[in-house]
Structures are given as structure tokens and as C-alpha cells.
């Protein structure tokens, strides 16, 4: 019998324990391949305008994925070898040379790796088709996606995984050299020490977590700069990671031990079995819990934030480009040309059409605002009120003589008290204006500096004698979300009037595409993390189940009913799933709270709904994993 065939027989003989490892290998490959083939898909790259950003995003994500996939495979590999140490020890006892055993394990790993590579790529091809359809759907694009196999994606996947597989195979070869025979035999028996709690590390853990939350939640200082962000949030991240790790290592042990102190609860029913089993394994579980809690926190936060962006896109587009079309008047001929194009679109009839005259002038505030204001854009109160009416907004203002109102600059968080009663002096005319109010909702597309001041009609007329006003022509049409063709024509003629687009549709579409892409990538990564964290817990619980089998047998003999045992399994598994998830959820709410503060102006929409959706989805998938784990666990221990 050759070594190769011995390795082959091994695999067929120990099918079930290989299966778990094999499935995680295939799973990793499928995920990676799907992602890479999306990256390589021409159609996807063509169908969106933001190809540069896209390829960058995909590149960054694929690096994260490689890291993640590598860790995941190494984890399941160590799980797998741990189960087989005894077998390896037996070979050695029977007189096989170390080198022979090593080579055998090497082959075994290699065969499995290659097999899973083939299967993974085949499955991945199917899945990538599905995912590209989802992406296109999210972006609202109509492009067709072919079912094509990307050679580039296959090559990249093969290279990445061959490296990983070779690494694990070499690890397998070295297994017999790394451990003494006696260690191989006692691998599964080695009892984990019951952890000792130190009060100090418990307190430090709680303090670090509190500190981290404080750092994340504290309001921005007046002088917000890069180094503050680096220091503050860098420190927050470090304390969060260490704090979480200490939390699982000490705080949970402390709490479990505390629950043991309450004897009348502890010595009641199966409580002492569950508590002691959790305590017994907490040390080994602490690291997994930490990783899972942090990964879930990151996934929920990013996913929540990106989903909010996608969700709030319409609102933020309306804010950035209030009218369906807006352009600077460039003479009769040009203006008529635009008007004809818009008028020619019968599917989107014009509901309002206005001329908004604007005076651009430099000026000086009587106070330090911390926002660039020059050139200031002046707009007359009657134009402003007409425009708000055309946009179906409620807010109208009244101003007389040298009274003025600020339109809240977009992407800022100024409030009325920042301006009220304060003055501005305009250059050239030396005219002094007094702010009486601040209004929300600009009427022209975003253009930095976004500092519009509404002045009284008299003042506007007076100023326009010295300074020539510019005229903006704006149109509002019905169904502005679908004006693709007309918008394209208009955009060709008028680009560069504003920093954002002149037409609502272009801004909306671009935002939707960008957000959809983010949503897709984070959604995809989130799904991977979720599936992987779920699987890690699943594997861990199943290993435990097979190790605990004899314990459950004893319990049955001592007179615990199957029902009670099932309950006990449920309780323990609930703890194992619930604890990291809860910590992850709390972390992510804190982070999302921060992101909301930071982004709500950019997004301009309430993000409660999308965040709750993201959390809800996360919890539901976890529940599915929980049910699956409980059932399998029960099957193993309660046969």
C-alpha cells in the first residue's frame, strides 16, 4: 500500500470528521471566488460610472477577505487536527516513521484542499451570477449580466488558496514533529483549568470599556482636526479591543462565579451543571467571544451606516439638488435650448419654472464662524419664498430693510443662535446687515462655500445697482427620479455650474450607485463575517458536545429527564450565542450613535429604520444558527 492510498483510505474512513473541515474549506473558497469574480466582471465595471472607486473598494475588501478567509481556514484546520492527534499518535505507536506520517498528513491536506478548490470554484460560479444580479438590482441599473466564467478570477482564487492549502499541509506534516507522543494521546482529555478571577483585571476591563465608550461618544471639540481623530478614536479602538477581551476573560468569569455564590439558586435543578460547564470552558471561549463580538460590532456598524446612506439617498439628493434642473443663465439662445429640451420631455411635465437672481459678494462676519463664507451669495426674500413654494415647502420668511436670514449651510450643524442678532458687513458697498433668523433648506444645488444669505427685496434692488446679479434658471418636473434621458442631455450642455450636478436625477443616480455599491460590499462582507462567526460557534459547540457526551450520559443515569437536558443544552447554547452578540450589539449601537452624529448631516435622513433593520437581520440569522446548533448538540448528547 502506498502512502498516497493510505491517506486516501484515511479520508474515506473518517468521513464525518473530514466533512466539517471540508465544508469550511469549500465555504471559504466559494465566498472568495464569488467576490473576486464580481471584481473581474466587465459588465459590472461598465455599468457603473464610478469604476475607479469601485475597483479600489473591491481591492480593499478582497484584502480583508483574504485575511479573514486565511484565519478562518487556519482555525478550522486546528480544530480538525486537534480531533486527530490521537490517531496520529497511534500510527507512531504502531511503528510508522515520523517522516512517513508527516508525508501522509501532507498528502491528505493537499488532496482535500485541491478537491475543495474545484468544488468551491464550481459553486462560486453559480453564486457569483446570483450576487451580480443582486448588485445590479440594488443599483437600479438595467444592465444584463452574462453567465460567464472569469479566467482571471479563477487564477487569482487558485493562487491565493494554493498558498493557504500548502501552508496547512506543511502544518500537517509538522504535526508529528511538534508534539511529543504523550501529548498527542492526551490531546482530547486535557482538562481545562478552571479560571481564577483577578479583581484587578475585572475592574480594568470595565474601566477600559467605559473609557472607550466615553471616547467614542464625547462630542467633537471646536477644533476638529486629523490628529485629534487619530488620537481619540485610535485610543478608543485599542481600549475597546482590550476591554472586550478582558470583559470576556474576567468579567464573565466574575459574574459566573458570583452566580455560584447564590447557593439557593445555584443548587437548584440543572443550574449548577450549566454554570459550571460554562465556567469550565470560558477560558477557551473568551478569545472566540472577543473576536465574534468585535466582528459583529464592526459588521453591524458598517452595514448600518451604509444602509442608512442607501436609505437616505433620496433625501440627501433632494437637499443637494433641490430642483429637478438648475443652471446658470448664459444668454437667451442657450437658455431657450435648455428649456426646449426639458419641455420636450412629455413624460415629465414641468410643474414650476423660476428665475432666481443671485448677487455674489465678499463680506465679513462680525464674529468667528469657523466656516468659509466668501463669496457670499445673496438672494432676495421674494425669490426665496417663490422657490420654497415651488418646492412645496412650508417655510416662508419676512424681512425688511437691512434684516437678513442665513440659509443653513449644508453639511454643517449651525443653529440659529450662532447667527441671531449678529452682523455681516459686505465689501464694496460697506453695507451692514443684521441676521434675524436662520432657515433650513437651500433652493440651489450645493456649491462650496454654501453660504446663502436672504435679504429684503429693497436691499436686493439697492445692491443690484452696484453689483450685477447672476440669474439661475430652475425647473421642477414630475417624477424627477426617472428623468434619465433628459438629464443626460441637459448635463452635457451645463456642467460645472455647481460642485454637485445640475439635475436631481444625476445626483440621485450617482448617490444610489455609490451607496448601493457600499451597501453591497459591506452587506457581502457582513454576510461572510456573520456566516463565519456563526460557524465558529457552531463548530465549537459541536466539539464540546462530543466531548461532553459522557457527562450527559451520567446525568441521564442520575435521573435527569431528556426534557431537562434539552433545556440545559438550550440555556448553555443561548449563553454562548447571546453573550458575544449582546456585547457586539451594544458596541455597535455606541459606534452607530457616533456615526449618526457624524453622518446624519451628510445623509440627511433618520437612520433609525435602516440601523434597526441591520441589527434585526443580524439577530435573525444568529437565531437560525442557534436553533441549528441546539438541535445538532441535542442529537449528539441525547441519542
Amino acid at each position: 500500500m502506498t502512502l498516497f492510498s493510505l491517506a486516501k483510505k484515511n479520508m474515506i474512513g473518517n468521513f464525518s470528521s473530514y466533512l466539517v473541515y471540508f465544508i469550511s474549506l469549500v465555504f471559504s473558497i466559494v465566498i472568495y471566488f464569488t467576490f473576486v469574480s464580481l471584481q473581474y466582471s466587465k459588465k459590472i465595471q461598465d455599468s457603473i460610472a464610478l469604476s475607479d472607486i469601485m475597483s479600489f473598494m473591491f481591492m480593499a475588501s478582497s484584502i480583508i477577505l483574504i485575511l479573514f478567509v486565511a484565519i478562518f481556514i487556519l482555525y478550522s484546520n486546528s480544530f480538525f487536527t486537534r480531533k486527530r492527534k490521537r490517531e496520529v499518535g497511534l500510527y507512531s505507536m504502531l511503528g510508522l516513521q515520523k517522516k512517513t506520517i508527516g508525508i501522509m498528513l501532507f498528502y491528505e491536506n493537499l488532496i482535500m484542499g485541491l478537491l475543495s478548490l474545484v468544488i468551491g470554484i464550481l459553486l462560486g460560479t453559480l453564486l457569483s451570477k446570483l450576487f451580480s444580479m443582486i448588485l445590479i438590482k440594488l443599483m437600479g441599473s438595467t444592465a444584463e449580466i452574462d453567465f460567464s466564467i472569469s479566467i482571471g478570477a479563477i487564477i487569482q482564487t487558485v493562487i491565493v488558496f494554493m498558498i493557504i492549502i500548502l501552508f496547512t499541509s506543511i502544518q500537517g506534516y509538522r504535526l508529528i514533529y511538534r508534539f511529543k507522543l504523550i501529548e498527542l494521546f492526551h490531546a482530547e482529555k486535557k482538562g481545562e483549568q478552571v479560571p481564577t478571577t483577578s479583581l484587578v483585571s475585572t475592574i480594568i476591563g470595565v474601566i477600559l470599556l467605559t473609557l472607550s465608550y466615553f471616547l467614542i461618544l464625547r462630542p467633537f471639540p471646536d477644533d476638529l482636526n486629523g490628529s485629534y481623530i487619530m488620537k481619540n478614536y485610535g485610543l478608543a479602538l485599542v481600549t475597546l479591543v482590550i476591554g472586550t477581551s478582558l470583559f470576556f476573560r474576567s468579567v464573565t468569569v466574575y459574574l459566573l462565579k458570583l452566580s455560584q455564590k447564590n447557593k439557593s439558586r445555584y443548587y437548584r435543578g440543572t443550574n449548577l451543571i450549566e454554570t459550571s460547564q460554562l465556567l469550565y470552558r470560558i477560558k477557551g471561549n473568551a478569545r472566540t467571544f472577543t473576536i465574534i463580538a468585535l466582528l459583529s460590532a464592526a459588521t453591524i456598524s458598517f452595514f448600518g451606516a451604509t444602509y442608512s446612506g442607501y436609505y437616505g439617498n433620496e433625501k440627501s439628493s433632494t437637499e443637494d439638488v433641490p430642483f429637478s434642473y438648475a443652471h446658470l443663465s448664459k444668454g437667451q439662445e442657450f437658455d431657450t435650448k435648455i428649456e426646449n429640451i426639458i419641455n420636450g420631455d412629455k413624460e415629465h411635465p414641468i410643474t414650476a419654472q423660476l428665475d432666481i437672481p443671485i448677487i455674489e459678494v465678499k463680506g465679513k462676519l462680525s464674529f468667528d464662524l469657523g466656516y468659509e463664507i466668501n463669496p457670499i451669495k445673496l438672494i432676495s426674500v421674494s425669490s426665496f419664498n417663490q422657490a420654497t413654494k415651488a418646492l412645496d415647502r412650508e417655510e416662508t420668511i419676512k424681512l425688511s430693510r437691512n434684516q437678513a436670514a442665513v440659509i443653513k449651510p449644508r453639511l454643517t450643524e449651525f443653529t440659529e443662535t450662532d447667527f441671531k442678532g449678529k452682523n455681516i458687513t459686505l465689501d464694496q458697498t460697506n453695507q451692514k446687515l443684521t441676521f434675524t433668523t436662520m432657515v433650513n433648506g437651500s433652493v440651489l444645488p450645493f456649491d462650496f462655500p454654501d453660504f446663502y444669505v436672504v435679504v429684503s427685496d429693497d436691499m436686493f434692488t439697492k445692491l443690484s445697482k452696484q453689483l450685477t446679479p447672476l440669474t439661475y434658471k430652475v425647473y421642477e418636473v414630475e417624477n424627477e427620479k426617472t428623468t434619465e434621458a433628459t438629464s443626460l442631455k441637459v448635463s452635457r450642455l451645463i456642467d460645472g455650474d455647481f460642485q454637485v450636478h445640475s439635475s436631481f436625477y444625476t445626483e440621485y443616480k450617482e448617490g444610489k450607485e455609490g451607496n448601493a455599491l457600499n451597501l453591497f460590499i459591506f452587506g457581502f462582507l457582513g454576510l461572510v463575517f456573520l456566516a463565519a462567526t456563526g460557524s465558529i460557534i457552531y463548530f465549537k459547540q459541536l466539539t464540546e458536545a462530543s466531548e461532553n457526551k459522557s457527562n450527559y450520559e451520567i446525568l441521564r443515569k442520575v435521573g435527569v429527564s431528556k426534557k431537562a437536558l434539552r433545556k440545559s443544552v438550550n440555556k448553555q447554547t443561548f449563553f454562548v450565542f447571546g453573550l458575544p452578540l449582546t456585547v457586539g450589539l451594544i458596541h455597535s449601537s455606541i459606534i452607530l450613535h457616533f456615526i449618526t452624529n457624524f453622518l446624519s448631516n451628510l445623509i440627511g435622513a433618520s437612520i433609525i429604520v435602516p440601523i434597526l433593520t441591520a441589527m434585526g437581520a443580524f439577530v435573525i440569522i444568529y437565531i437560525v444558527y442557534y436553533v441549528l446548533t441546539v438541535n445538532t448538540y441535542h442529537k449528539i448528547v441525547n441519542k
Binding site: G191, V194, K263, S264, Y266, Y267, R268, G269, T270, N271, L272, I273, S276, Q277, L279, Y280, S550, N551, E553, I554, L555, R556, K557, V558, G559, V560, S561, K562, K563, A564
Partner: protein
């Protein structure tokens, strides 16, 4: 005196048509309260099957078994579990201690399952721990103590809930002679002073000589019975050896 165990025509057949193996045949057995009864016989005679059937872990093919006046034949899974919890105590050859629990917690287990209040529970543990001399190791974990200590822990767990019947399956099998003697002395005291009913399966004639009565099984049938009466343990031991050699095969287990 109360009858604790009563079996009528108990039969246990393994396998299905064509390939049947009769493990127990027509076993009629009666054990009174406070008796310390041994079950002996060569390997494959059906000792363990009998014990498992009495322990309600396995069910007989036919026949009736009553323990402490209750028939266990028609009980369902949950009723059996509750019955085991309340009426039976077990001592196994390989101890069967939960390695995640301390010695004390292992002993407490049956009481906790029965939801006894803490005060009484602590008291019972103390009494039992003193009886078996394991008070100093109560806070240790099973992997920190010796085999003899483990078995005494298991015995403590078996009796702490004051079960009607204690079943022991080769309890001295993995112990050295000193530990074995300690355990057997304890069991004997238990039956004599506390009126505990003990049924012990053993291979070991020395262990069996601590019993008041020994039931010999061969090929699934009752072979004979040997009561100790007024004899000394030494004399009884020799008689046991005689029966074993008559049975054949058993004598190998003497040493």
C-alpha cells in the same frame, strides 16, 4: 421488613429473528430493605444486563420489576428519569463523575435536581462527606483527586438523596486493595447502620465477601444463592471461591 426489589420472570433478549441472544431468562429476585446483596458470575453471564434492567437504563423484554413497591415496566422516559432521581443511587466502576463540577457539587447534584432547599442540602453533604471521609477534598475537582477518592465521591453521590436502592457496578474494579477495602467497609456500615439497600455486581470474591448474600448467575439464569449467615468473612470468602470454581472461569478473578 419491607421488600425493596421484586422481579418476576424477567427476560431479556437481544437481537432480532435468526440471531437471538438470551441475556436473562426467568429471573426471580427479591431483596429486602437493608440487605447488601452481591451479584456474581462469569463474564457474559448477564450480571450487567440485570443491573441495567434494575437501574431502568435498559428495559426487559418481558417480566415485571417492582422497586420500592412501584412497577417500573410501564413508566415513560420522563417518569423513569424522575424515578431514578428519587429512588436510585448509582456507583460505577469508572466513577462517572462530572469533571466540570467539584467533589461537593458532584455530591450535591441529585439533591439540586430534586430542588431541595440549600440548608438541608448542605447538611446532608456534610453528613455524607464525614461518612466517607472526604471532607478535606470537597472543593477539589475530580482530576485533582485519586481513584479511591473519586469512588468515595461517587458513593457519596449515590447515597446522599437517601435512595431506596443503591446499585453498584464493579465499584472496586479500578481501585487498589486499600481503597477497595475502605469503600467496602463504608458500604457495609451503610447497610448495617442506615438500613441502606445495596445491590452490587462484582467479579471479585473479596469484594463479594462483604455482602450478606450473593446471587450467582450463569448463562442468564439464576445459578445459586449463598447467604453469609453467622460465618466469618474469611469462611464466607472461601465458600464464594468454591461456588465460583463450580461455575468455572470465575476462579481466575480471585487474584
Amino acid at each position: 421488613m419491607k421488600t425493596i426489589v421484586e422481579t418476576n420472570n424477567v427476560k431479556k433478549i437481544y437481537g432480532s429473528k435468526g440471531n437471538v441472544f438470551t441475556a436473562l431468562e426467568d429471573i426471580d429476585l427479591t431483596v429486602q430493605e437493608g440487605e447488601f446483596v452481591g451479584i456474581m458470575g462469569p463474564s457474559g453471564a448477564g450480571k450487567s444486563t440485570l443491573l441495567n434492567v434494575l437501574a431502568t437504563i435498559d428495559e426487559p423484554t418481558s417480566g415485571d420489576i417492582s422497586i420500592d413497591g412501584t412497577s417500573i415496566i410501564k413508566m415513560n422516559e420522563d417518569q423513569l428519569a424522575a424515578f431514578r432521581r428519587d429512588k436510585l443511587g448509582f456507583i460505577f466502576q469508572d466513577y462517572n463523575l462530572l469533571d466540570t463540577l467539584t467533589v461537593k457539587e458532584n455530591i450535591v447534584l441529585p439533591l439540586a435536581l430534586a430542588k431541595m432547599n440549600v440548608k438541608e442540602l448542605e447538611q446532608r453533604v456534610d453528613v455524607v462527606a464525614d461518612k466517607f471521609g472526604i471532607r478535606p477534598i470537597l472543593e477539589k475537582y475530580p482530576y485533582q483527586i485519586s481513584g479511591g477518592q473519586k469512588q468515595r465521591t461517587a458513593a457519596s453521590r449515590a447515597i446522599v438523596a437517601k435512595p431506596s436502592l443503591i446499585l453498584a457496578d464493579e465499584p472496586t474494579g479500578a481501585l487498589d486493595s486499600k481503597s477497595a477495602t475502605d469503600l467496602l467497609e463504608s458500604l457495609k456500615t451503610l447497610s448495617e447502620q442506615d438500613k441502606a439497600t445495596i445491590l452490587m455486581v462484582t467479579h471479585d470474591a473479596y469484594a463479594a465477601s462483604y455482602c450478606q448474600r450473593i446471587i450467582f448467575i450463569n448463562d442468564g439464569k439464576l445459578f445459586t444463592e449463598l447467604a453469609k449467615g453467622k460465618e466469618t468473612r474469611k469462611e464466607y470468602f472461601n465458600k464464594v471461591l468454591d461456588v465460583l470454581s463450580a461455575l468455572g472461569g470465575g476462579a481466575n478473578d480471585v487474584i
